[in-house]
Symmetry: C2
Subunit: 355 residues, 2 copies
């Protein structure tokens, strides 16, 4: 299947959607993208596994990165794509093959952008971070990701979403002492003790800090609880797994310290964490982007690959035509006018007077 | 292996202990008991699976039941039995082959008790109630259990333990609504909501009612808690399994009503229940027993087969030489003097002037 990058952006989106690319099975789509980009003489194209990179090399004062993942969650009876009115339906339409189509259209048609651009199409975003194609590149060939500013074409409702909240999960353990439940007073009930952990969660007021003008919204929630030995035994352990979503500029270390203080009376063990990223909108390249796109940027509350760029010192934002709540749903669709708007505004930015 | 019922009670206990009889594997011991009792002309002996019954038929005004289970929990490197000083060590010494030895000694040596006696040796007491040999008989041949009063030779430290507390388990469910944990306020956290269930448990004051002069001690405890969908999802359900131990004369229906009132705001589902049994010490046959044994009876807090007799309308108590906390332990032992004392007092009761 050949991709026609000169077709209009909604047709290109449909073509991308119709090449199945569930995480781990992206080779056919990566091949099609690679083949299409490789014919373009103004781009230096490189392949790394199922990651395809293309970059201009015009000696511009700035280099920006435009990135998108090529994989989708499992197909759910929602292929092939179909158009109804202004909507294109199908698996990956919102998350994020419409964004990918914008990326490929810009790559193919802007021969002399006013900023050098590195386009990155990567695999395995929808699965555990260890398999993420962008993360692999950040580890093995970080020079390929170099740039002054990055835009991820993740679904954001065609609004700029800046930064991202970090996430940390901890196991907080309430102790107890076993006894037969007919003589409960001989022991100490760990599940009852865990009530104190839930008290802390229930009375917690999550912060809503404003960073670079964007309001974040933290959260502190039990996501798992487990305890119990047998139906007639007072339990000696109850573990509450807590997920804390924290706003930048706090680091994972700051977040851990906050949790250890909150749950000072209990054993606290970190399960995993991922850093927050500041909006980075004060960087001149970012400011130019915001000016070109228009609208009021808002904070990104979930965790996205924006944080991987932040870790490399590159300010990054999400900006894409998809509508986030439609991601991963059976009835996933994208509004075609928003794909066009997104392409037009990105084009304005990349072709505006050089910085 | 032949059992010598005329040997002294500690030797008989050792012989019983040395015939392994883990629940479900009691045939060898049931055979040995059956064979030994069958030679005694003053007893009518009957076999039902691995239950062995023997009864006198002297036309006395009262009939009492003396019962004990023949199975043990799994052997734990604690066989064969051994004597150290006044103690007999080994699997089942306390729970309850010492009591079984007392039963068999009484059966073999009291040719003309002043009350008719039904001796019952039954299987599968240490496992789920559906397999219990006494329960099977109560269902299929309740006439074999008929009597005015029953003594179970369960470990009770050679004190009379009257009645037993009932037990009911319920699942109390806290509801919620799923959401991504980065936008927790879009959902409702069921684990946090379960904090209200734990609040009720933590502030509950268990009753300590006095029934027929014996003090019971109720208990209301979470024995399991489970909730959680994924590490980044606000959970929509949290289930707390609660075990309520209730004193007689409350029925399982009363206990359920009490729990439904306590947890009125939540979905409450009964998992299982077993009835309480009153001490029954006001019955003349029981009073005569208490007088013969001496000491102050105390309430039985755990659930025992006493409740099965109570369901058949037969007052019953626990009275045996074993020490309850040693049951099911690797270092299980029984004090030999208590086995002898138990035999002597039971003999006094069964040979005292007829009622």
């Amino acid at each position: 299947m050949r991709l026609d990058l000169l077709s209009d952006v909604e047709n290109l989106t449909a073509a991308l959607v119709d090449i199945e690319s569930v995480s781990g099975d992206e080779k056919a789509l990566a091949d099609a993208i690679h083949e299409a980009l490789a014919t373009l003489p103004h781009l230096i194209v490189e392949r790394d596994g199922n990651v395809v990179l293309a970059r201009t090399s015009l000696g511009r004062a700035e280099r920006v990165v435009i990135a998108g993942h090529i994989d989708t969650v499992p197909v759910n009876g929602n292929l092939p794509s179909r158009i109804e009115g202004d909507r294109l339906y199908g698996c990956g339409t919102t998350d994020m093959k419409s964004g990918l189509a914008v990326l490929l259209r810009l790559a193919a048609t802007i021969l002399e952008p006013t900023r050098d651009v590195t386009y990155i199409c990567y695999d395995c975003e929808e699965v555990e971070g260890a398999r993420n194609g962008l993360a692999r590149l950040a580890r093995t060939r970080p020079e390929l990701l170099a740039g002054d500013f990055a835009v991820l074409l993740e679904p954001s409702g065609a609004k700029i979403e800046g930064g991202c909240q970090g996430t940390i999960r901890v196991d907080v353990t309430a102790p107890g002492e076993r006894a037969h439940s007919a003589r409960a007073w001989m022991g100490a009930n760990a599940i009852h003790k865990a009530g104190e952990i839930l008290d802390i969660l229930r009375s917690y007021e999550p912060a809503r800090p404003v960073v670079d003008g964007l309001e974040f919204h933290e959260g502190l929630n039990a996501v798992f609880v487990r305890g119990g030995v047998a139906g007639n035994v007072i339990p000696d352990e109850c573990v509450v797994t807590i997920n804390y979503r924290f706003a930048p500029p706090a680091s994972a270390v700051d977040a851990e310290a906050h949790l250890r203080e909150l749950f000072g009376g209990f054993d606290v063990k970190v399960v995993d964490s991922a850093p927050a990223a500041g909006p980075g909108l004060t960087h001149p390249a970012a400011a130019a982007f915001v000016a070109a796109i228009g609208g009021a940027p808002r904070a990104k509350l979930g965790w996205t690959d924006v944080a991987r760029f932040a870790e490399l010192g590159i300010p990054a934002v999400n900006y894409g035509p998809g509508d986030p709540p439609l991601s991963h749903t059976k009835d996933e669709y994208v509004e075609i006018p928003l794909i066009r708007e997104c392409e037009r505004r990105m084009r304005d930015w990349l072709t505006a007077g050089s910085p």
